[in-house]
C-alpha cells in the first residue's frame, strides 16, 4: 500500500502543478510547479512520509533510465544534427566550461567572504 500512497502524493502534486501551469498559462512546466508544491508541503509538515520517501527515492535512483525513451528520439533528428553538428559541439563545449568556471569562481569568492564575516562575528 505504501508505494501506492507515495505515488499518489507525487501524481497529485504533478496534477496540481499541471493545472496551475495551464490555467495561468505559465512558461514553467507542470512537474516543476509540482516539485515546488511538494517542497512547500514538506516544509509545512516538517517531515517526509515513509511512503513518499520509498517511492520517490526509488524513482530518483533510476532517473537515468527514464530519459532513455526521449534520448532514442534523437533518431528523428539525425538530419538536423548532421547539419548543425559543429555548432552543437562548439556550443556545448564552450558554454559548459564557462558555466563551471564562472559558478566556481563566484561561489569561491562569496563563500570566502561569508566565512570571514562569520569569523569576525564569532
Amino acid at each position: 500500500m505504501s508505494l501506492i500512497i507515495g505515488m499518489c502524493i507525487l501524481l497529485g502534486c504533478q496534477f496540481l502543478g499541471e493545472v496551475i501551469s495551464r490555467a495561468l498559462s505559465l512558461p514553467v512546466p507542470g512537474p516543476v510547479l509540482g516539485m515546488l508544491i511538494l517542497l512547500i508541503g514538506l516544509l509545512i509538515r516538517g517531515s517526509i512520509p515513509a511512503s513518499l520517501r520509498t517511492m520517490g527515492e526509488g524513482l530518483l535512483k533510476y532517473l537515468t533510465l527514464l530519459f532513455v525513451p526521449a534520448g532514442v528520439g534523437l533518431i528523428q533528428h539525425f538530419g538536423l544534427i548532421r547539419q548543425e553538428l559543429g555548432i552543437l559541439i562548439a556550443t556545448l563545449l564552450v558554454s559548459t566550461s564557462v558555466t563551471i568556471l564562472v559558478t566556481s569562481q563566484i561561489l569561491q569568492r562569496v563563500a570566502r567572504k561569508g566565512r570571514a564575516a562569520g569569523e569576525r562575528e564569532a
Binding site: P29, G34, A70, G73, L80, L88, I100, L107
Partner: protein, 242 residues
C-alpha cells in the same frame, strides 16, 4: 513454413508495446555492465550506451520511433513524478540551504544565467536555427525539467534530451581540469559547480570521484538550478528576441 511462423511472431511483437519496453530495460542492463567493464568512464555512460544500442536496434529492424515509443512511453511517463520527487533531496538539504542562503542564491542565479546566455549567445553567433537554439538553452538542467522547458519554449524536447546528456559528459571531462587550472579545492564549491553545469552526471561524478560532501552539494545544485532555470529561462530567452 517455419520462416512464416517466425515472421508472424515478429509482426505481432513489433506492433505490441511489450517488445520495446523489454528491449529498453534489457539495453539498460547491458549498458550498465559495459560501463562497469570500462571502469565507469563518463564517456561510456550507461544512458549514452543504452540509447546507442536502441538506436542501432531500431535501424537494424527498420522500426520507426512512434512504434518504439508505444512501448517506451510507460518509462517516459515516470519522468513527471520523478521531477516532483526532486523535492525530497531538496527538503533533506534544507538546513544547509538556510545556513548558506546568500552564497547559494547568488551562485545559482549567476551560474544559471551564464549557462543560458552563453549557450544561446554562442549558438546564435554561429548561426544555428531557432529550434536548435531553443533546444540548447536548457542544456545544463536535469533532463525531465529541461525537456519540459524546451517544450514550453518551442524547442524539440527529444533533441534537448540528447544535448543534456552530452552536456553531462562534457562537464565531467572539463570540470576536474578547470578546478585544477584555477586551483579550486573546496569540495562544496566543486560539487555545486558540477551539479549546476552538468546536472545528474555531475552529481554521479562527484559522489564517485570527489566525495560525499561534493555529491550532496551537487545534488542540491541540480535541484535548485532546475527550479530557478524553469522560472528564469523564458524571460532570458525573450531578451534575445526569440
Amino acid at each position: 513454413m517455419n520462416d512464416l511462423r517466425l515472421e508472424q511472431i515478429w509482426v505481432y511483437l513489433s506492433a505490441s508495446p511489450l517488445l520495446h519496453l523489454f528491449a529498453t530495460l534489457l539495453a539498460f542492463i547491458v549498458a550498465t555492465v559495459i560501463n562497469r567493464w570500462a571502469g565507469g568512464t563518463p564517456l561510456l555512460h550507461p544512458v549514452i550506451v543504452t540509447i546507442a544500442l536502441l538506436i542501432g536496434f531500431l535501424l537494424l529492424t527498420g522500426t520507426d520511433y512512434p512504434t518504439y515509443f508505444q512501448g517506451a512511453q510507460f518509462l517516459h511517463f515516470l519522468l513527471g513524478p520523478a521531477t516532483v520527487a526532486l523535492a525530497i533531496p531538496l527538503y533533506d538539504h534544507r538546513e544547509r540551504v538556510r545556513r548558506m542562503l546568500w552564497p547559494i542564491l547568488i551562485g545559482t542565479i549567476s551560474g544559471v544565467a551564464t549557462a543560458v546566455v552563453s549557450a544561446v549567445g554562442i549558438a546564435m553567433a554561429l548561426g544555428a536555427n531557432t529550434e536548435t537554439i531553443l533546444s540548447l538553452a536548457p542544456k545544463s538542467v536535469t533532463s525531465p525539467i529541461a525537456m519540459g522547458i524546451a517544450e514550453k519554449l518551442g524547442g524539440i524536447p527529444s533533441l534537448t534530451a540528447g544535448l543534456v546528456l552530452i552536456t553531462g559528459v562534457v562537464g565531467c571531462i572539463v570540470g576536474p581540469w578547470i578546478f585544477r587550472m584555477t586551483r579550486i579545492t573546496d569540495p562544496t564549491v566543486q560539487g555545486y559547480s558540477m551539479g549546476l553545469a552538468a546536472h545528474g552526471f555531475g552529481t554521479a561524478y562527484c559522489f564517485a570521484s570527489i566525495g560525499a560532501v561534493a555529491g550532496a552539494f551537487s545534488g542540491l545544485a541540480m535541484g535548485l538550478s532546475g527550479l530557478i532555470t524553469a522560472f528564469l529561462l523564458p524571460p532570458l530567452v525573450h531578451l534575445f528576441g526569440l
